[in-house]
């Protein structure tokens, strides 16, 4: 955001001109920022929904919220965080960084890029419109049939939900198409696929997953809209429709979805760990192969969300094996990050601080995932608060901590200013402590028999204390998000000027100015290795001798 002197009479015209610019932009950098801003706004809204949920569950038989409102809140919280926060923020960050990282001027299809953003936003607004028209949907974010049929969900909320997600799903899919085309077709000269930065590699595979997994969701959303409005019988169990078909098809989307939410973060971590450990990423080829393995295996694990539906033992076993298998490439990545840090010179500036949080928390989320993959144990744990604890560990401990790491890493590039390290530390520790206080107890209440999605519980079940801890933890998290927003708003005008390459990093985005000009590069660079800037800074010992 350059600070230039402007004659006063142009000031108001600049305001509308700026708005027009942002609304009509096809520049990947601006679109990336739009996505991230949209996601942060929905993060706050979804977070408020969660706080209301937690306040209701603070004590047994609480009457702060009735069942109708509570059920709408958890539905909207999940839907918001997955579709209007998680994916948009990752697509946004990818949008900003990937073209810079691969040395090109924009995404392959700039206008499609813009359309994708506005369509995603519109889908979110469509879903949220339901609050104003008789209540939000109260069906759970995975909307099991036949609860979603008109017989059992009478208001238009479910239709708005389905239509909103169909629309935003189209936006997400076009974004993925753009990433694939850009990464495969527009890399700088010399940047073969074996030389692309790891974040780009993960964005490529994430996009492949989106292209394969989102359309089935679109299809079943269309089916439920047909059931509800055209008298179709896809999930109409009273007329031969199958409730299980919804579950199979939903989770065929739903499981790759969670990898969509984590793979980009794996990529960010794979950029930050090397730079802040001052060491090249250990085992790039194995990391790349592990990423591809995760994508393929994750297409075959979906029914581990359905272990309690009464599949045969052989069917259960298939999904036990596939689910456990996917932990192997995930573990490989983890070990490679540790090996990168080992023997390095680690600095704990804010990006690396958040990465440390990510590593410690995602490990736990992954391990509770292994517990859930052991199907008989899952018979007890599924649909209980244990699962809620597990997925928040991977989604907050994993995705959100990783996203904050990435934001702190690339904020200087995007804005030309450094974020305040002091505020970042406050944000980190409050989030780390609050997050653990919130979600660790959920594993306990789940083991003690507390199911999920209940608006209240009886006092004599031994769950009170754990719910209290959770609610207090949620309150501890609140200031951390406030501090983050304050940090961003304060640093934009007043942060320390960043320069081109504040972290002494090695990938192409750090060769431009901060922020980059609209055309990204004066000359499209030619690269010879995975770390073009390392080669420039160490001409006596370039990477291409070792790769």
């Amino acid at each position: 955001m350059a600070v230039a002197e402007q004659p006063r009479e142009l000031a108001s015209r600049n305001w509308t001109a700026a708005l027009h610019d942002w609304v009509t932009t096809v520049d990947h950098k601006k679109i990336g920022i739009l996505y991230v801003v949209m996601a942060v706004i929905f993060l706050v809204i979804g977070g408020c929904e969660a706080l209301l949920i937690r306040w209701q569950l603070l004590v047994p038989r609480n009457d702060f919220l009735g069942p109708d409102v509570f059920n709408q809140l958890f539905t909207m919280h999940g839907t918001t965080m997955v579709f209007f926060m998680g994916m948009p923020i990752l697509i946004g960050m990818g949008n900003y960084v990937v073209p810079l990282m691969i040395g090109t001027r924009d995404m392959a299809f700039p206008r499609l890029n813009a359309m994708g953003f506005w369509v995603t936003l519109f889908g979110g607004l469509l879903v949220y419109f339901s609050y104003a028209t008789g209540g939000a949907p109260a069906i759970g974010w995975f909307a099991y049939a036949p609860l979603t049929e008109r017989t059992f969900s009478r208001t238009a909320a479910t239709d708005l939900w389905a239509l909103g997600l169909i629309v935003s799903g189209i936006g997400t899919t076009t974004a993925a198409i753009n990433f694939i085309a850009t990464i495969l077709g527009m890399r700088a000269p010399g940047m073969t696929l074996r030389k692309i930065p790891f974040f780009t590699w993960t964005m490529l595979w994430t996009s492949v997953q989106i292209v394969i997994a989102l359309p089935p969701l679109t299809a079943i959303l269309i089916m439920i809209v047909f059931d509800r409005n055209l008298g179709a019988h896809f999930f109409d169990t009273q007329n031969g429709g199958s409730a299980l078909l919804w579950q199979h098809l939903f989770w065929f989307f739903g499981h790759p979805e969670v990898y969509i939410l984590i793979l980009p973060v794996f990529g960010m971590v794979s950029e930050i760990v090397p730079v802040f450990s001052r060491k090249v990423l250990f085992g790039y080829e194995f990391m790349a192969a592990a990423t591809a393995a995760i994508v393929f295996i994750s297409l075959g694990v979906w029914a581990h969300h359905m272990f309690a539906v009464g599949m045969s033992r052989t069917e259960d076993l298939f999904f036990v094996v596939s689910s456990l298998l996917v932990s192997i490439p995930t573990g490989i990545k983890f070990f490679n990050w540790l090996a990168t840090m080992y023997g390095g010179r680690i600095s704990f500036a804010s990006p690396m601080l958040f990465v440390a949080g990510f590593l410690s928390m995602f490990l736990i989320g992954g391990l509770t995932g292994i517990m859930l993959a052991a199907a008989p144990w899952d018979f007890q744990l599924t649909d209980s608060y244990f699962v809620v604890g597990h997925f928040h560990f991977v989604l907050i401990g994993g995705t959100l901590f990783g996203v904050f790491a990435g934001i702190h890493y690339w904020f200087p590039k995007v804005t030309g200013r450094m974020l305040s390290e002091r505020l970042a530390r406050w944000q980190f520790w409050l989030l780390y402590v609050g997050f653990n206080l919130t979600f660790v107890p959920m594993h306990v209440s789940g083991i003690l028999g507390m199911p999920r999605r209940i608006y209240t519980y009886d006092a004599d079940r031994g769950w009170d204390f754990w719910n209290q801890l959770t609610t207090v933890g949620a309150l501890v998290q609140v200031p951390s998000f406030v501090i983050f927003v304050v940090n961003v708003i304060w640093s934009l005008p007043r942060g320390e000027p960043a320069g081109d390459d504040p972290w002494n990093a090695w990938t192409l985005e750090w060769t431009t100015t901060s922020p980059p000009p609209s055309y990204n590069f004066e000359e499209i660079p030619t690269v010879r290795s995975r770390r073009p800037l390392w080669d420039l800074k160490h001409p006596d010992d370039p990477d291409w001798n070792y790769e």
Partner: protein, 206 residues
Amino acid sequence: MSGTGLAYPLEGGGAHSHSASPAGLSATEWGMLSFLLSEVAFFSTLIVTYLAYLGKDQSGPTPAVLSLPLVIGTTICLLSSSGTVHLAERALHRGAVGTFVLCWGATILLGAIFILGTGYEWYGLIVDHHLTISTNLFGTTYYTLVGFHAFHVTAGLIVLTIVFILTLRRQVTQHHATAAKLTSWYWHFVDVVWVVVFTVVYLAGR
């Protein structure tokens, strides 16, 4: 923590060249392929659903009410249109705009016959056999699957027609050969999907 201040080497000159893309495909081609992959996933879901419910109805019309002769006719038209669109895009590649217009137009005609044939088929199913999307599972899955395919054909026809009109106004030339090729990929895809749908619905399922 200031910038490196390093000047980047000017290898490669000012030309906006890219690193070799896998399989030598351009970004636009990868874009169309990714889009078609997403459509494969979408139609696979509809086909899987159709198969899951095949034979599960307790009452109402079954696939036996489908008229094979009519659909064989429309299928021949649609598959031939793949041939004509291929001829068209090859012609444009050579610069033979006249041939291009003819073959492109033939493609539109054949595609339109397919749609009209489908409409006629549906009219018969609704009026004579009382099969609608709400009749039973077969009605639900049949109309959704065949309907979405027809919707994709129609969308393709609209695009083909826009290009046709632009060509008549001399705004499409040999320079647009790639665009025509990518459009033809979409059209071929729609045909391939029809081959699968036809096999599943009209042959195997009856």
